[in-house]
Amino acid sequence: MSVLVFAEQQGGELKKAAFEAVTYGKKTADVLGVDCKALVLGSASNAAELGKYGAAEVLTVSDASLDGFDGSVYTSAIAQAAEAAGASVVVLMHSAKGKDLVGRLAAKMDAGSAPGVNQLPTNDGAFRVKKNVFSGKAIAEIEISSANKVISVMGNSFQPEATGADAPVNELSVSLPAARISVKSVDKVTGSVPLPEAELVVSAGRGMKGPENWNIIEEMADILGAATACSRPVADIHWRPHHEHVGQTGVAIRPNLYFAIGISGAIQHLAGVNSSKVIVVINKDPEAPFFKAADYGVCADLFDVVPKLNEALKKFKAGA
């Protein structure tokens, strides 16, 4: 038996998320006392490196129908690889592709599933794993009783840990259905850090008074190499683009550092950001509920504080 990890490649290369996934898969395999194998769909120049993070073997599937993303084709490939690898547990990242696949693959394998976990499973008589529920307001422990199990892991929950050496890479031959979804275009926001993957996020709200004042926020994001985000009201009145809206009904994020500037901290906003490792709140209202969720707070007018903070960050970056 083994644990199979779907390691996503982007543009022919494995990125950090793939190594996070394998690190999680290896630790899960250790809990179960089995080995860990990785699967790459399409080619990745650094596929063998997955061995360093715990994969005993890397399987690859090269097929033109995997070039565009059709979840049913990917699901078929992963299910066949799981069978070939003798894997009853499949680990995915809870990424755009992972969220698309987790349900589909669970149905295909008739598996119990745990989507979006952020802790390792336990296996003391029963397979159990925890995940955040109610948009981060609580944690649920899920017991999976079926033989097959599908787990997707929240990004930035487990840092990649390289311990071993490169693994053998073997091409797997599978038979795939024809794609029914055709990808017409991929439009990535260029020149800035994509929000869901960002480790540092600078976010601002209605306290900014108008879209013309955002230059100090963008400057701060530039200095830090951070992504910019915003609260719902600001996106709704079109001060900022919708893809920047974080919160319960926008994007849920879990960066290492989240700056909330001029955002009061409504419960719906907190639900989307409360998994951030460190939260800094800048608000002139000492009663702003966000201070209760913050690690560091500055109670002052943001138009005074943010330029000073930017200067201090510039000095720090110059010295670092």
Binding site: G71, S72, V102, A106, N132, E143, S145, V280, L313
Partner: protein
């Protein structure tokens, strides 16, 4: 076009989350329940817009007990024509998906809509499961959907951008922000909803492959450390040396 919209009942976004004494069940006392916002604001409203533009019918499907009917009526007030409730208490996501798949196969729908996730269990699984069980294409996290005959052009959210795809009906789609704007039901809609049918069907036989065995609250945050607004160097130092995030 025959459109099916999966709707789920969830606690209100501002609900205080608590559990029973054993921490094994959600405490529903005093909690207001709503239709899952992604199901309502984006999936249902887009389905109703497509019906208004291209003709057809919008059917709601919900898996749950009779206490879900209030949420279903709201969906009918927003513009759905009828509803099917699979009479089953809550189950695992795969069990619920099997119930919806049975309804979807039976009805021969052109598009099955659901929200990108529910705001209670945040699974984002149901759409993909239904698609697999019905052998249909699935497009997740769609932020726009336009129909041209039987062909759809859909934009879906991916890391740091969007992907535009084309797919022919029938298919399953999960709706994210951008797909439509929230609609408040008007008095006429609410009056009409009272007369629209909710068909109650028995559950098909399926097992729960996963169960929630316990809940806990997230660890409490340490007290917020307040920093002197005149000393931003101190904040930078703490972020670097104490929090180690920059």
């Amino acid at each position: 076009m025959k459109l099916l919209v999966c709707v789920s009942k969830t606690p209100d976004t501002t609900a205080k989350i608590s559990f029973n004494a054993e921490n094994t069940e959600f405490n529903a006392q005093g909690v207001t329940f709503i239709m899952n916002p992604y199901d309502e604001w984006y999936a249902l409203v887009r389905a109703v817009e497509l019906k208004e533009k291209h003709g057809g019918t919008v059917t709601l499907v919900n898996v749950g007990g009779a206490d879900n009917d209030a949420v279903i009526r709201k969906g009918l007030a927003i513009g759905a024509d009828d509803a099917i409730r699979v009479d089953m208490p809550s189950g695992s996501s795969l069990n619920v998906a099997k119930q919806i798949a049975a309804v979807a196969k039976d009805g021969g729908y052109d598009i099955v809509f659901c929200g990108k996730e529910t705001i209670d269990y945040n699974g984002s699984e149901i759409g993909g499961m239904v698609a697999e069980l019905c052998d249909l294409p699935f497009i997740s996290y769609a932020s726009s959907l336009e129909m041209d005959g039987t062909n759809a052009t859909i934009a879906r959210d991916i890391e740091g951008g969007k992907e535009v795809v084309e797919v022919a009906t029938p298919f399953v789609v999960s709706a994210a922000k951008g797909m439509a704007e929230q609609r408040i039901p008007n008095m006429r809609g609410i009056m009409q909803a009272r007369r629209k049918p909710i068909k109650v069907v028995p559950a098909v036989d399926a097992a729960n492959a996963s169960t929630i065995v316990g809940y806990e609250m997230p660890p409490a945050k340490a007290e917020c450390k307040m920093i002197d607004p005149e000393n931003m160097e101190e904040l930078v130092r703490l972020l670097h040396e104490e929090a180690k995030v920059i």
